[in-house]
Symmetry: D2
Subunit: 351 residues, 4 copies
């Protein structure tokens, strides 16, 4: 594949992760938007809805039923669609000769986990078996460089795994008994009409949701396992924040005998070395404003030997590192490009 100019398509371009993928592609020196799919925007030009310039602005959005017609000649198709749609469209895009990055949960877990956590039996276990699950800083289930279908991690799984991995890898905490308490902005729920996600109900509020039933729980367990530091079961709780973007994960682990807060901080510093999107800082400096709009991950850790606990914090933008940014990072790896291309100049928007 040509490494200097790759035409891409985005299915589900009118959702938050689709919009974000389009923005990142527009600013990418190698990728260029050549096809866009969305029932909601069908018939309009991409430039009618998004502030992109050049040829991308003139791409006409087609309906999902016509998605296959747009796939010819694309190097990569980003599926920014619900799991069921991704499962249906991935084989169509592959058949057309495209490589696929799927941002949904459609190809993230072992098939036997789908009924419990996603509520359906996976209809294409054969394709699922070929999917390469890739969280670049943690590991992958195969060779991303060679993969035809890459399964992009979920936002909670990304922040939780990145928050926990350093302490596990350095032996600061016991593998068992990890607790991950996360809080997410509202864009994680998608762009849709919902009374529960209305401004009147969310502003001034904070609450947990899908308690002990969140489908990212087994994904965190898988990601840690792929990284070689599987902890068996983890406990994961998600809360809804009155912010638009960003997730903060607070990770609690059982401190190993003799380990200290300094060991926890040192583990984090060692973990981020050589990983361009990761940065270690003090625990109370790990905050959403510092990562929103970027592909960065802020990390911090401390421990309390008296209480036998280590604590780690991780912050990401759920739409960038938690979705579109990591998808482009994976696309870079698929193409043999540096993983930071198109992602290191994002200026962020804080405050």
């Amino acid at each position: 594949m040509d490494k200097t100019h790759v035409r891409v398509g985005i299915v589900g371009i009118s959702g938050y992760s689709g919009i974000e993928t389009a923005r990142l592609v527009a600013a990418h020196p190698v990728l260029s938007l050549a096809a866009a799919v969305s029932d909601k925007w069908a018939g309009a030009r991409v430039g009618d809805h998004l502030p992109v310039g050049g040829a991308a602005a003139d791409v006409v959005v087609v309906r999902q039923a016509d998605a296959a017609m747009t796939f010819a000649g694309l190097g990569i198709v980003f599926l920014c669609t619900p799991a069921e749609v991704s499962i249906a469209l991935a084989p169509v895009a592959l058949e057309a000769g495209c490589r696929v990055v799927d941002l949904s949960g459609g190809f993230r877990l072992a098939p036997e986990l789908y009924p419990r956590w996603y509520g359906f039996t996976h209809p294409n276990a054969a394709l699922l078996a070929t999917a390469c699950y890739s969280m670049p800083e943690c590991g992958a289930s195969g060779s991303v460089r060679d993969a035809r279908l890459v399964s992009n991690p979920g936002c909670f799984a990304t922040v939780a795994t990145l928050g926990a991995l350093a302490l596990l890898r350095a032996g600061v905490v016991e593998p068992a008994g990890l607790i991950i308490d996360a809080a997410s902005g509202t864009t994680g729920a998608g762009k849709k009409a919902s009374e529960d996600f209305s401004f009147s109900e969310v502003d001034g509020d904070f609450r947990a949701y899908r308690v002990l039933k969140h489908q990212h729980t087994p994904e965190i367990e898988r990601a840690l396992s792929l990284a070689g530091h599987g902890a068996g079961h983890v406990t994961f709780t998600s809360h809804l924040l009155p912010v638009r973007r960003g997730i903060l994960a607070t990770v609690y682990g059982r401190l190993r005998a003799g380990k200290t807060g300094a060991d926890a901080a040192a583990a984090m510093t060692a973990f981020v070395a050589g990983k361009p999107f990761l940065r270690a800082t003090k625990p109370d400096a790990v905050r959403l404003q510092a990562v929103v709009g970027t592909n960065r991950v802020l990390l911090g850790a401390d421990a309390d030997p008296e209480r036998g606990v280590a604590i780690a914090f991780a912050a990401i933008d759920n739409l960038v590192k938690g979705a579109a940014g990591q998808a482009v990072q994976n696309a870079n790896l698929m193409l043999g490009l540096a993983e930071t291309i198109g992602l290191d100049g994002l200026p962020g928007s804080a405050p």
Copy 2:
């Protein structure tokens, strides 16, 4: 009618203005909740959804189709429903011997204005002709004490009229050329699923809506006219704020020759005298936090003779003085009670 114990019903109790009416009734020494109507909550007890105690908690909510069955024996029915529903149910409640306070726009305008501003021909002009439109501090279209059907003003009309009236009444501004620029919290749009009112779309945003087409424009004109200071046409613009409750109106008028900022401030001070819910203050102290949760109206005014303009500010809680609170205030007047009963102990919630 007994002035010490009046049984009331609330139709549309599951919406924001219905919920607020229920709260105020629960804290009212004379009114008691005896009937509740809502398709959404049908079959549940009021206490399952709202933190009210006593007998009100045990009132069972019935479907709208069964509303008529609940009206027998009620002194007052509050219609917290869309205009079309109010127009259909008001005669039913009146027929059952109840008096009615309608919080919708169903009985606020002259019949000929409905097609343009509400988009439908009013189906019951005869009943409309009997409705008493009442904004207590400004005036009414008849005797509230004797009215069977009281039309409760809209939130924007309340804040705009109260903001403009003092300057008109004192002759500080010309009657013509009034401009009213208002900004409202999201609960004004009701409790419903809507992408436009989702947290992700509203937070961090500010925009106008229904520009030059808002149905409260003719209502402001009517309220000013009833107050004896009609200004002919006014220009009214509404904006959507990323807050849940509250409306601030900024009123611009053409300063009469020889008038000053001191005249504008004095007009406001004179206007609030003897009106228990109104308070005059400095223009930059007229703010939402100071009124949210209460039936109060904060008012302030100044003028710039060099530019020939007077400016006034008014702030209310859209769900209290702009809806449920004013409805209870009107109910107090209907019953011959002091208008402040049940409304002066509201502690507010600022900050």
Copy 3:
């Protein structure tokens, strides 16, 4: 002491907990505001700053240096002041014959804990030994009815203890290894100028603070111990939410063998029985909007036997149940009144 009319004073009336105490006193049928202290508002009438009516509005605020002059004839003094100020003023108020409710941390812990957690040596251990620490639903260190000096619990300690106690008491979780993850609104930090708490820095953000160093950690341990279910050390983390009011605590405990989610939920239901301000509900219904403006506590619990963890949620308004409301509740108990007097009619302000 007369139980039908008790004159009270509020020291620190211009802060958030002072303002809230004044509001609750204004709506209380027995307590009446007779003295107010604040350097910031000194010389003004209470009614110039707060929407209270009657005689309370005419109380003139005096400087803190003159506080002692106002104490004569007061039944109860509420100290809404920093710990150091409370420690200095409590003996002055007691000397004047008043009973005292202190809302600060000045009398909450054993003296030997002050250097580590508050950063100073307690200067009045003798008085500290006489203080009655009282969290009404959990227990007290003495007889509240007879106490001269009541130490009112901190907001985090209140929500954390109430969240954890049911599971401990019912034997659903092991006493050891409790983790409490809390998120608080900004009013918990007080009314002051601070770049860290500016809107520009807090909006859209979420982060932890005082990680592993929060002074409410030993207070939670003390409160659980007083309740007879001390767990030894607990791990407590606080986060800053972009909301004004409210705290949500998420409590993780190690599930005892054989226990289930149903056991956790049943423990919560049993715990709230007979406690008028507590209510048990589903975990994802425990939210800030449902408690803000009230003295209520919402509680919920579940468990995951596969992961060996129980989880509980508790929500309060940090300024009401977490400060002024619990202070009035304690004052009611000191006076032999029903604990709900003046607190059960609060209408809340949600949404």
Copy 4:
């Protein structure tokens, strides 16, 4: 001056406009950060505080008292400082051979206006007379290409002038009687400790400030005059929004006889033609989320002949088009570069 590589300095880099300027310079292909001044960050590396890479990260921040030492060899100095500081430092930078873009109000008005609107007598009227005030889409007081000192417009003046100019230029409205009602996010007030701008006071609130006294009023009058469509006096009111970034201006003008809403919309469409950062859309699509993070200006207009009023809306990001972005745009013009260089790839951050 070399057009391919220009070293720049930023004075006041730790404030919001300084931080934003640093971000934009970091992403600019021609400009490179070579000096940074701030008392707050003095001694640190720029990379310790901002997510910039490359050589910029290693620039050591110096104290303001040492600013002069950093000016040697810089092509352009951006003064992101209060007016008084800019007035003092601009001659120093010019003396050192630098060209200057001043983001403060220090060089925006005629000298006789400073006492009334800024509260001080301008101490350097000679230098003020040489300053080139430049709002690129509207006009400039001299040749930007040749200017040594460019005065960058204020945020309110930018959005108000851009909102009003099209209607004036096309003769849709009378020149007299313009009213501009604006609402701004909190970053416009700067990065500082302030109780008035604390989250607890701003969230859920909306109020006007500096009513009839705002120093941008005469600047709007000057900018319109420079554009050849001076309207004499305008009335300008600013409100504080509970958002971090963005300003929306609502402009009211007196509609000329025979003009319609279509004329107003057409005027806007004509106005934006050929101006790369301006875009015309429907009035209710002019919103903050669509411009935040970018240098774009959204514009819309309509009119009501019955009420004799035209209305226009304009939205900008106060830190980009209202400050740092326009400063870089002016720097591009000073250097003879295309005005969009370094500014057209900003991805924004909505939602």
